[in-house]
């Protein structure tokens, strides 16, 4: 550092790194779009901070949410994070579709380098900072309630996971304002992402954000697996768990085994970039095939990490809104386990075209096709669950039905792609893009939205607006078909994915249709936000404090809505698969216990926020070569962990008298509530008490 103080202080940061400065110096449409996005991040952050300051809510936010170790609040924060990131990544998707529609034999308005950043951030965010937080949040909220536990096994670790994910997501946002993002796609394949070809900060942002996120997910997986193994209430054997818990368990196991290969792959790439190693370089013995291998050792199980929780949510929703026991419970459990194991045997199908022998491809192609079998079993089980049930077409049920049809279509194209010879023809085309969106939008997004609509009343005590829910649903489904069916045609016609411009005029109409579809998807997200707004405004008319708006089956419905912080005043004892449903029929669904005891709940901790912020600072320092910041933050993390180990008083006691007061209030509400039949469950008559019929 002989050339002055600034490089030592600011690393490789220059004023040119700021999106605003770039737009000022070179005011093209392309740069102005970049600056506009940066402006949205800055203004968004500033307005949130101002709003909190003006309303004086910092203390409340810090005490009740940010430092909370309550699994319910952590779950809600995860879902909020997912929606924020969804908004950004969806906006990017719309921008890309507009660019492609405008760029048939024309330059369009987004330059190639910027376009490459767009698809890289879109993919990375949708997988790591939309899908993963969304499902982690839902699991966090629901699983402990369903197994009759008071919290997850490691509440502090839970908070640390949340904050590491949040820090990484923040890093993605910062990359919009300061510097630029990777242009290497969400997979970040070397050697392109090596220093020789991408010397800028982009891939470093990608490496840091993904590494933080993957560590957080590994920790979450461990947490959930231990929770399910150790904290089930008495009587809750594994084969009595609700199916959502089974999918949680399988997802957690997949996280434990699948996230480390990703962490290793990104860490090795970081070693290449920072310390001159040659794991994946072109020269000196590097082998980029091993990157593809490691990445997809993570990447394929990841697909099932994303889809299994949605399968669990559909199982709950279909069973509840058909008022029937889940058909083929055992086969669903076996299918879930089979998928979990098979997901580790197929990863080569992501790089069929990379140079291995035809025999090897054939083995993995056949393995890939077998995954269709357990998935098919599940679809039939859900259909049989609905058969002759009292089916109500509520919003979650609509999502489930749309999922079943759309997902099967996507599955068929997956079977096509599983043939290596066919894959050679359409790999790296929009056909593939259409296929995986066809799996993940129904298989993840619809599932998580169904779960949100289904469990929202439990979490917040009032139902979501039905009308806006249906509008959003219509837009998500209609928009999906318009946006992605044309991509099958385009891909089969040879349109390469990740293309900034096209030169084939025949593509134009299909690109227009896909563009319209993308706009409808944007409208769908807007409708969801409107729905939330309307629901909050009308919340007093739609309260379901008694806690059981849908005639629920599992334990989670046997508490008030929202549940008290300790979940269960008395740990329940179960003797069947639908304990609460059967309990209501036997007349002891709402038994008042003889007395209450003191309950210990985890005390708030600022270790989570500290770790997340310091982790993001460490990553930021590494990205910009600001070594003092990196060292400082790393030392801060170590110091935080050491300081935490000295804190002995980690639990807070809720006195028995308080428990009695909270529970009495709820029992009075149940006594006052009017039971409603299933025909009225979407009307304000629904106070959260179900009419029990035979």
């Amino acid at each position: 550092m002989t050339d002055g103080i600034w490089p030592a202080l600011l690393g490789r940061f220059t004023w040119n790194a700021l999106a605003f400065v770039r737009a000022w110096q070179n005011p093209t449409v392309n740069e102005i779009i970049g600056a506009g996005a940066a402006m949205m991040v800055v203004l968004g952050a500033a307005s949130v901070i101002t709003l909190i300051t003006v309303t004086g809510k910092w203390g409340y936010l810090w005490r009740e949410w940010l430092t909370s170790l309550d699994h319910k609040k952590i779950g809600v924060m995860y879902v909020v994070l997912a929606f924020v990131m969804l908004a950004r990544a969806l906006a990017e998707a719309v921008l890309m579709r507009m660019q492609q529609a405008a760029a048939v034999n024309a330059p369009g308005f987004v330059e190639p380098d910027h376009f490459a950043q767009l698809f890289s951030t879109h993919g990375s965010i949708m997988i790591f900072f939309m899908a993963m937080p969304f499902l982690t949040g839902i699991i966090n909220y629901v699983t402990p309630l369903q197994i009759g536990a008071r919290d997850v096994a490691f509440p502090l670790l839970n908070s640390i996971s949340l904050w590491l994910t949040g820090g990484a997501a923040g890093l993605m946002m910062v990359s919009l304002v300061i510097g630029r993002f990777s242009t290497g796609g969400w997979t970040g394949y070397p050697p392109y992402t090596e220093l020789a070809f991408s010397p800028d900060v982009g891939p470093d942002y990608w490496i840091s954000a993904v590494t933080l996120g993957s560590i957080a997910s590994t920790l979450s997986g461990l947490n959930f697996a231990v929770t399910i193994y150790k904290l089930r209430c008495p009587g809750m054997t594994l084969m009595r768990m609700p199916l959502f818990c089974w999918t949680t368990l399988c997802t957690s196991i997949l996280m434990i085994f699948a996230m480390p290969p990703l962490t290793v792959a990104t860490a090795l790439l970081a070693l290449d970039r920072y310390l001159g190693f040659h794991f994946f370089t072109n020269d000196l013995g590097g082998n980029m095939m091993n990157y593809a291998n490691l990445f997809w050792l993570f990447g394929h199980p990841e697909v099932y990490i994303l889809i299994l929780p949605a399968f669990g949510a559909y199982s709950e929703v279909v069973s509840t809104f058909s008022s029937k026991e889940l058909y083929g419970y055992t086969s669903l459990v076996l299918a879930t386990m089979a998928i979990a194991v098979l997901s580790f045997t197929v990863w080569v199908h992501h790089f069929f075209a990379m140079g291995q022998s035809a025999n090897l491809n054939a083995v993995f192609g056949i393995a890939t096709m077998t995954i269709g079998v357990p998935t098919g079993v599940k679809i039939y089980d859900w259909i049989w669950t609905m058969f002759r049930g009292e089916v109500r077409f509520t919003v979650p049920m609509l999502y489930s039905l749309a999922f079943m049809m759309t997902f099967v279509l996507g599955g068929f194209t997956g079977i096509l792609l599983a043939f290596p010879p066919l894959d050679y023809l359409v790999h790296n085309t929009l056909f593939l893009v259409a296929h995986f969106h066809n799996m993940l939008i129904p298989g993840l997004l619809y599932g998580m939205l169904a779960a949100t609509h289904y469990w929202f009343p439990k979490a917040f005590g009032f139902r979501l607006n039905e009308k806006w829910g249906r509008i959003a649903f219509g837009c998500w489904v209609f928009g999906f078909y318009l946006a992605f069916m044309p991509l099958y045609v385009l891909g089969a016609g040879g349109a390469a994915r990740r293309s900034q411009a096209f030169f084939e005029p025949a593509f134009r109409p299909w690109l227009y249709v896909a563009g319209v579809g993308a706009l409808i998807l944007l409208a769908a997200l807007t409708a969801l936000f409107v729905q939330l707004w309307v629901s909050i405004r009308e919340r007093d008319a739609n309260r379901v404090f008694a806690g059981d708006p849908w005639d629920g089956r599992g334990l989670e419905w046997s508490t008030s809505a929202p549940p008290p912080e300790y979940n269960y005043a008395v740990i329940p004892v179960v003797d069947g698969r639908d304990p609460f449903y059967d309990g209501k029929r036997d007349g002891d669904g709402y038994a008042v216990p003889a007395g209450y005891e003191d309950i210990a709940v985890p005390r708030n901790s600022m270790v989570g926020p500290a770790t997340g912020i310091l982790g993001a600072g460490l990553a930021f320092g590494l990205v910009w070569y600001i070594w003092w910041l990196a060292v400082l933050c790393l030392a801060g993390i170590v110091a935080t962990v050491i300081a935490r180990s000295f804190i002995r008083d980690v639990e807070r006691i809720v006195p028995a008298a308080d428990v009695a007061r909270i529970e009495d209030r709820w029992h009075h509400a149940i006594a006052a509530a009017r039971p409603i039949s299933r025909h009225h469950e979407t009307t304000p008559a629904n106070q959260g008490l179900a009419e029990v019929t035979a």
Binding site: Y229, F257, M289, N290, N293, F344, L360
Partner: protein, 108 residues
């Protein structure tokens, strides 16, 4: 939680005996591996296999005697998890080796 609890003293003695057996076995197996290398009786390849085999047996001894994972009902969950983990790791490691070796073969 499991079978009718024996009195704690007997329980403790039994536990110490398990640890002692485990320690002795681990010592013998480790010693055996070193001995096989130090006083070579077989060709190198066989010795290597022998050391690997002894290591595998050692792992089982550790699980059984130190981590109390047995075929009993109470530790069935743990056993299943360990077997599952083993399966996944074998799949990942073996798959990686096959893929890289395959590419290597085609590059030659």
């Amino acid at each position: 939680m499991t079978a009718p609890q024996a009195d704690p003293r007997r329980e403790k003695r039994r536990e110490i005996r398990t640890y002692a057996i485990g320690y002795a076995l681990a010592l013998a197996l480790t010693g055996g591996a070193f001995a096989a290398v130090h006083w070579p009786r077989f060709p190198a390849r066989t010795t290597l296999g022998l050391v690997f085999g002894l290591a595998l047996v050692q792992m089982i001894v550790h699980l059984r005697c130190f981590l109390h994972v047995s075929l009993r009902r109470s530790s069935r969950d743990d056993l299943l998890l360990i077997l599952f983990s083993t399966l996944i790791i074998i799949l990942m490691v073996a798959g990686t080796i096959v893929i890289i070796a395959n590419l290597h073969g085609r590059m030659m």
